[in-house]
Amino acid sequence: MDQVTTKTLDARGLKCPMPVVKTKQAIDTIEIDEVLEVLATDPGSMADITAWCKSTGNELLNMEKGEGVFKFHIRRVK
């Protein structure tokens, strides 16, 4: 799948519930089928962003753990 990131949300340093809340606000600013990249340092965001995608119906394309940073790619579905 083509994975051109439309927008990057820097949620590094933010604690629960802000990574998810900011992700919601950021996804609303892109168009359907565009991809949002989220950077977070909160270890809970691994489970939480996954749960958020499951609940909202947006597609979690991938998540990776780098040097203390979690990176997510989310495709806006609706």
Partner: protein, 159 residues
């Protein structure tokens, strides 16, 4: 369950404790971020979470209560407050961890369009006027409004 596709979350905030109200706002903002239509019903001690920093009360008891009431930034935790030391300690510990503050969480709730409902009866008893509450509040309501909200809700919580 709601009829349409949008899920609903309805929370009662009865407690006036900093830690419990924080939990309520964290769940509420997350529910709203997860596309749930979310409302919070503030009753009794919980009204402190949505009160402006003003003196309230008309009669002797009402004014006494108003004297002891704080606003969202001056309420203490449910345990280990020790006359305000606990509040200071928790605020410092949360700040050190970059945790979102209670006033910020409330503002986020407002920004996410969460409906904030004050309890009319509690306001009457405690002599708190609608003007004493933050401007973002809906008009005061009673228990039936909450029950209707809760009937249609997929999540209900009492904090």
């Amino acid at each position: 369950m709601s009829d349409n596709e949008t899920k609903k979350c309805s929370i009662v905030v009865f407690s006036g404790d900093m830690d419990k109200i924080m939990g309520a706002f964290i769940i509420a903002t997350t529910a709203a971020a997860m596309d749930m239509e979310t409302s919070i019903f503030f009753t009794f001690w919980g009204l402190q979470a949505v009160k402006k920093k003003v003196k309230t009360g008309r009669g002797l008891f009402g004014r006494m209560l108003g004297f002891m009431f704080g606003d969202i930034d001056t309420i203490g935790p449910s345990k280990m407050n020790f006359g305000g030391i606990g509040r200071w300690m928790f605020k410092k510990m949360m700040k050190d961890q970059d945790v979102t503050t209670l006033p910020e969480l409330r503002q986020m709730a407002i920004d996410l369009g969460i409906k904030l409902l004050p309890c009319q009866m509690s306001m009457d008893v405690m002599e708190i006027d609608a003007d004493d509450l933050i401007d973002e509040m809906e008009d005061p309501v009673g228990a039936a409004t909450y029950v209707l909200e809760a009937q249609q809700a997929d999540i209900t919580l009492f904090v």
